[in-house]
């Protein structure tokens, strides 16, 4: 039980005393004026703070589990590392609040105003954020798995590297937001608006994006495998090296898609050509001249292949004992059904493995790659000799590896 009463708290505040490290569990502090108060490390578990004025208060490391903060004003409050799991913050004002590394798992934040709040590395799994205002919020590397973001406003928010696996974001607005490298696997976002957003290297595998708006969005190197984009609007989107294998692309508005690596508008495609560029299912006359696609079911043995600088190569076939030379910046994507068996891949390209890469007697299987990305379904059993300046690695949970990494034998 708390060691203070509401009256004690009022008296201490009147005397100008702080409330840090106090046991305030279960108290009714609703409507109290607590602006700039020091409540750091205090225990406010289950405390009623409805309508409390906590503007600029310090709540660092405070425990606010299951606290009732409906309509509270926490503008510019410091909630760094605060425990807010299962807290009720509906309609609370958290404008400019510092929630870095805060635990908001299962918290109720419907209609809360979190404009420009700092939520870097915050835990928001299963949080309820219906129509929450998150414009300009810093959410990089935050965890929002299975969070509910229906109708939430995230315009200009920073979601780089954030995880939104299985989150629901129907009719949410991500206009101008940055979602580079975010994991949006299985995101349910019907009629969501991603116009002007940056989604480079974002994983949208299996996402439901029906009726979504991606006007001018940057989807370069995004993964949209098995995503549903029915009736989505991709006007002016940048799609270089986007992977959309098995995606639903019915009734999609495809106009002036930019296929250049630098997104400089140097090559725009529309309609059927754009659809072909997205799916990679057609010949060279519609694919960008530097893109190569090896389809499912094909088998290539003992071949020697060389791909020039800046090419994009998607392999969904089986390559056995082939020698593959990659030019500078060449992208080699081994799709989910793809297999490289006993092949040798060399050169300063970028290798992404959604399928399988197996070494046999020819080692190393990969020599000098600038980057190696193994997605959650990727399987790699190989020796990787790094690039002279080191290889950039990215490995998603779920990848299966038996990998030996060695330093470059070439001159740096």
């Amino acid at each position: 039980m708390a060691d203070l009463t509401r009256d004690d708290v009022v008296r201490l505040l009147a005397e100008g005393q702080g409330l840090a490290r106090r046991d305030l569990r279960g108290l009714d502090l609703s409507g109290l004026m607590l602006e700039e108060a020091d409540l750091s490390r205090s225990d406010l578990t289950g405390t009623n703070l409805a309508g409390a004025k906590l503007r600029g208060a310090s709540l660092r490391n405070a425990s606010l589990r299951e606290a009732y903060l409906v309509g509270a004003d926490l503008s510019d409050a410091n909630l760094d590392k605060a425990e807010l799991d299962s807290a009720n913050l509906e309609r609370a004002t958290l404008v400019g609040a510092n929630l870095t590394r805060a635990n908001l798992e299962g918290a109720k934040l419907a209609h809360a105003n979190l404009e420009s709040a700092r939520l870097t590395n915050a835990e928001l799994d299963s949080a309820e954020l219906t129509q929450a205002q998150l414009s300009g919020a810093q959410l990089s590397h935050a965890s929002l798995n299975e969070a509910y973001l229906g109708g939430a406003r995230l315009a200009g928010a920073d979601l780089r590297g954030a995880s939104l696996q299985g989150a629901q974001a129907e009719e949410a607005s991500f206009q101008g937001a940055t979602l580079d490298g975010a994991d949006l696997t299985g995101l349910l976002a019907r009629r969501a608006d991603f116009s002007g957003a940056s989604l480079q290297q974002t994983n949208l595998t299996g996402a439901l994006l029906e009726g979504g708006r991606f006007v001018g969005a940057d989807l370069r190197r995004a993964v949209l495998v098995e995503a549903n984009l029915r009736a989505a609007v991709l006007r002016g989107a940048k799609i270089h090296a986007l992977v959309a294998t098995s995606a639903v692309l019915v009734d999609v508005e495809l106009e002036a898609l930019d296929t250049t690596a630098s997104a400089d508008g140097g090559r725009l495609v529309s309609g059927a050509d754009a659809l072909a560029a997205l799916t990679g299912r057609v010949g060279a006359q519609v694919l960008p001249p530097n893109q190569r696609y090896f389809g499912r079911g094909d088998v290539l043995r003992n071949a020697s292949l060389e791909f020039s600088e800046g090419s994009v190569v998607v392999v969904e076939s089986h390559f056995e004992h082939c020698t593959i030379q990659l030019g500078l910046g060449t992208e080699l994507v081994v799709g989910e059904p793809g297999l490289l068996l006993g092949c040798q891949v060399s050169g300063p390209g970028r290798l992404t493995v959604h399928g399988q890469l197996f070494e046999d007697s020819s080692s190393p299987a990969v020599r000098g790659a600038r980057s190696l990305v193994v997605s959650q379904k990727g399987i790699v059993r190989a020796t990787i000799e790094q690039h002279p300046k080191g290889t950039i690695f990215a490995i998603e949970p779920g990848a299966r590896l038996s990998v030996r990494i060695t330093k470059s034998t070439a001159e740096a």
């Binding site: 940055t178 490298g181 980057s371 290889t391 998603e396 990848a399 590896l401 990494i405």
Partner: protein
């Protein structure tokens, strides 16, 4: 209060602070945060190596999360790596996560290392 939390309800944590160097065997029932240097055997439920921290030797933990330097034999259910992985390192884990930086720079720098992650992949049959 249970024996895993402090009076304030926050999880207990063992911390090797910056400037502290520890050699030998370290076994803890609580999560371990290393800001200093540890050389030897480490056993704990969760190991977190801060950017200024380093751990070398044999590590067994449920979770290993490093933004500093790790080297040696790391065995865990889940491993999340950034920072630096030293030479002669072996990582055995059910799940490994190495994130790609949004600006395409290197998040983790590997020396000579071996990664054994997930169920051992068996070679497919040739067609």
């Amino acid at each position: 209060m249970d024996n895993k939390t402090t009076e304030m309800g926050t999880p207990k944590l063992s911390i090797i602070e910056e400037g502290t160097e520890l050699r030998g065997a370290l076994s803890s029932g609580f999560p371990l945060l290393v800001r200093g240097a540890v050389h030897g055997e480490v056993t704990c439920p969760a190991l977190s190596v801060a950017p200024q921290g380093s751990v070398s030797g044999q590590v067994r933990a449920g979770l290993i999360e490093s933004t500093g330097i790790v080297a040696g034999e790391l065995e865990a259910e889940v491993v999340r790596l950034s920072g630096k992985v030293g030479d002669d390192t072996v990582v055995r884990a059910r799940s490994l996560e190495v994130r790609l930086a949004s600006d395409d720079t290197m998040v983790v720098r590997f020396g000579e290392a071996r990664l054994e992650v997930g169920e051992a992949p068996a070679a497919p049959e040739k067609r």
